[in-house]
Amino acid sequence: MTARVDTQTPAQASSQTTASTTEKTVAAAQAPRRSLSWIIPTLYIVFLMLPIYWLVNMSFKTNTEITGTFSLWPQDPTLRNYIVIFTDPAWYSGYINSILYVVMNTVISVAVALPAAYAFSRYRFLGDKHMFFWLLTNRMAPPAVFALPFFQLYSAFGLIDTHIAVALAHCLFNVPLAVWILEGFMSGVPKEIDETAYIDGYSFPRFFAKIFVPLIASGIGVAAFFCFMFSWVELLIARTLTTTAAKPIAATMTRTVSASGMDWGVLAAAGVLTIIPGALVIYFVRNYIAKGFALGRV
């Protein structure tokens, strides 16, 4: 043993020296290139962040400064725009309405999608593949197509201008998405786990709640995130189905032209506040987003 180690040592040592010299040469050759390699990502981030920075910048300016001068940062920083939003019910109720129907929609979508995804992932039935694909095609039609029939139907049932109306309408494209994402995550769980649980004596509901849901918790998180996001940014259907009581923030933002002209600063502050919930939710599922975009199939 020792003899072998001894004979290896010089060989290893020499190979290490070679390795380190090679590294040096490579480093030397790459040196000028490496010093420039930050440019492209930096440019990319600058272009990406510029509009967002400008929005934040504007939200701290007065209307006079926004319309009058060009300044890279607020010359006369003010919180007035934010105060307006947090004190004027016309503004903050928009946020409350949006959050209400978005949360309702997320809960409904995930609750409905869980059993559906389980069925698609575990059972073979007549037309299962066609149905699974058909679900996704619901996402392919533009929401405008559904605006008119939805308006008629919801009027008939007296649901116009309620939160549940928007929440249900958004299920049209969120349920298929959640089913697809959850199915991907569920299919990653071996069927033998289900069977082992049944053999251990778990009933189906108990198995589902105690064993299966914890296994796909990240999938549920990602599905909820996507539902939240799509419902949060959707404007057309939300605006069509509401008038005042459940008016979403995005709709409020499009109706800010007053007698005194456009209130640019308040609008910018509203924009900033609209970005925040999405950014917060993204933070929680940041490790699973890529898998979510691949519909759980990585």
Partner: protein, 358 residues
Amino acid sequence: MLELRDVFRMAGGEYHIHPTNLALQKGTLNVLLGPTLSGKTSLMRLMAGLDRPTSGTIHFDGVDVTGVRVQDRSVAMVYQQFINYPAMTVYENIASPMRIKGADSATIDREVRKAADLLRLTPYLDRTPLNLSGGQQQRTALARAIVKNASLVLLDEPLANLDYKLREELREELPKIFAASGAIFVYATTEPSEALLLGGNTATLSEGRITQFAPTIDVYRRPVDLITAETFADPPLNTFALTKANGHFVLEGEPVLSVPAHLAGIPDGPCTVAFQPHHLALKAQTPVAAPVTVRTAISEIAGSESFVHVEFADTRWVMLAPGIHDIEPDAQITVYVDTRHLMAFAPDGRAIAGPAAA
């Protein structure tokens, strides 16, 4: 006693399991031996109640349990893959069947610790299964099967994904662990040597059909047909198609072997003669060894023994020779068949005579 009465299962117009009658006694170890896709897992799933037979009934202690939900049966099963509940600790994994039964926590704690001790999992009880090695994960699954204290324990190639050393260790312990419980113990494997090491009874499977069910050593010594003999041979069984005439086995008019005493009773005519690879040798070790001239193909050295592949009249044979033999390919050599262990099969595969030396 577990009885399968005329049970078969069809899927997509094909038999997964051919009509089967099988009775497994309490407190016995039963090996299901067969190659991949021979229906071992399908048969186990029928026994467990995970799948329903297309037709036929399954009785447990005389009670028909064919339609009974798996939750209501006294069954434990361990898969080839390491199946545990990843979100629970090892302790909770092992405790899970008892928790469902509603045992009190003192009993659960006692049983879990006993099983963990038996399978040397005590230091890992607070970890989650995915932080364990494969062997520990499988031991967790086995511990869960133990605490369930089921009357039917199904192990579907439980050691196939483990490394050699662990496999040997667990293979030795498993029958002991479950023997105490008096359960019916069913063990599926693809390896004939594993069946022999476990002992008990063996059912050999081929293409969804049980070809023989008897005490393991009997199946090995006296297979009822050629398929069973082939299933129970690793490396593969050596065969030659010969014709028996006037006290000789003849191939194309040339006498190859004189018929040994234990095969003298079989009728003249075509038959298949077979023998295990270790009954072929490079040197005549017994007076009854018959010389056969063969052409060498390749030799593989597996440590203390060598697999020498030879060709006899277009049939490939394997010789398991002790020691290291590096034999020139494409040479004519003489090898010796131990004729005491010859098995003879009729052209339809039925065994007509087994080896004399038991």
